[in-house]
Subunit: 309 residues, 2 copies
């Protein structure tokens, strides 16, 4: 099974109460790929400028990530983002955005990428995301991410896109904005009625909820004593999720549930380092060990209540 990701490649500058990072490798396609790379080959589609250094390419290649779809714009500059986290690490503000070459990004899938089993469309304009669906030859299992901006300014495009995809991942606030429902269960159901078989609502330190045809599944996050930098946690979550799908090939509820669990585990590593550091400095065994702990944490013994009254 193969996995294609289309998204941003960026230089991130991040301030947190624990320290700061300048011009570090980031972007949705990067965080996603780093997480998914533990499960098999990831094929990346993105765009950078001439300022994108070889060392970053080498890091991605060393994780087996295919960069045939990484376009370099001559004379262009790579997308830059800077942001600052507040003390609670749950909220942040964007300090600056320089879209640069990402502003006119028109994803162009290499011929070898077009027949893929799994496709992730990172956060971007819904029309751009839809243009990728027009290029794939098979019918990949497609997961899409979005954000408040597109719900706000491109809702009709987003709704057209949702009718064509298998799953949407978004956060709690975005789910409320898109559905108009405050209750997370009702929000999931309403968004599912727009098309996706699965709606996966990310709830930060509180875990994630899957809305599916038969109901809802909630899974907790891993309890973390410290969060160094949550940047990229959502994309790492999606990367672990789709990496697991690529490996298992199972897209029924059982498969999606274990994939969300893997997303939870990869996101937890992402949060424990600055930028991509958290996912760079581990190996497959570290991930597998944490997954087993998570699985065990959720295993419950049976206790039958007496039928006395």
């Amino acid at each position: 099974m193969s996995l294609v990701v289309v998204g941003s490649v960026a230089f991130d500058s991040i301030e947190t109460p624990n320290g700061a990072l300048e011009n570090a490798l980031g972007g949705s396609a990067v965080h996603f790929s780093m997480a998914a790379s533990y499960f098999g080959e990831v094929r990346l589609v993105g765009v950078v400028g001439e300022d994108f250094p070889d060392s970053h390419r080498q890091l991605l290649s060393s994780r087996g990530i295919c960069l045939d779809g990484l376009e370099v714009v001559e004379g262009g500059s790579t997308f830059r983002w800077s942001g600052k986290y507040f003390d609670d690490m749950d909220h942040r503000e964007t300090l600056s955005v320089d879209l640069n070459v990402f502003e006119n990004f028109k994803p162009d899938l290499p011929a070898t990428y077009r027949d893929t089993g799994f496709l992730f469309l990172g956060n971007g304009a819904p029309v751009t995301q839809a243009s990728v669906l027009d290029q794939v030859s098979a019918s990949p299992f497609t997961v899409v991410d979005t954000m408040d901006l597109w719900i706000d300014i491109a809702r009709p495009d987003l709704e057209s896109l949702l009718a064509r995809v298998d799953a949407l991942v978004l956060n709690d606030e975005e789910s409320q904005q898109l559905s108009g429902e405050k209750n997370v269960v009702l929000a999931g159901r309403k968004i599912r009625s727009m098309g996706p078989r699965y709606v996966i609502i990310k709830r930060g330190q509180h875990g994630a909820m899957i809305s599916h045809e038969g109901g809802e599944v909630t899974l907790p996050a891993l309890p973390l004593a410290s969060v160094v930098d949550p940047t990229g946690a959502g994309d790492s979550f999606a990367g672990g999720l789709m990496g697991c799908l690529m490996k298992s090939g199972r897209t029924d509820l059982t498969g999606i549930k274990v994939a969300v669990a893997w997303g939870t585990v990869t996101a937890s590593f992402c949060c424990q380092g600055f930028g991509v550091e958290g996912l760079k400095e581990i190996n497959a065994e570290d991930l597998q060990d944490r997954f087993e702990s998570y699985k065990n944490m959720l295993e419950l013994d049976s206790v039958e209540i007496p039928q006395i009254i």
Copy 2:
């Protein structure tokens, strides 16, 4: 195994966006007992006035709850509380409190209650809670509840009490207030250092976290499409939790974990009706069915990641 609960018995008046209820049976000992009654005999210690009607006694007795410890103060009035929930159902304001006979409540355990395996000390002044510990002859597994008021005005008493109990249940905000830590994991660890083997932090719709000697366990809440009235959910949670402990007799981490799961299940029924209605109109099979669904929801398949890179 036997289970004793010491707490309030009250008349509650509740306003919610879904409707209102006047002078309904409530109080921590009542909600706790209703939830725990599905697991075996609960022995209640509380106080009411002459205005407490026989119909309420009959309801509790019909659930096998022993009322030998329910004191009636001649000429006195029962504790009354009224509150109003905001639209999100996560927050409420207290409109009025008439402590009445509860103000001078000095719990006096009947002789038959003193040798108990499990003891729950519902929210109250820490010195009053401690006076119960002085009356028990054996060394019961003791769980205590508290609230912001006592952390604020009676911290030394509360800390003395915590050194004598096995577990504390409290909510997210209270855990931050008591520990001075914003991170839930660190909050749990700091409170555990005050004495209790287990600190169980309730997080409303986000589930609960257990802090224990070996680390932390997070369990999600059940996804509910509608919450009718959350009054008593915390005490129902504690009731299901301790009912399970009474039934299983297991107080190791495995036993506590499944007990928290049962607490989660009983609390979910509590939220689905006004006052005690949610837990009154079900039977053991309804509880068992929902527990099995919850257990299945959390079961994960194994997916091994390839050790390729």
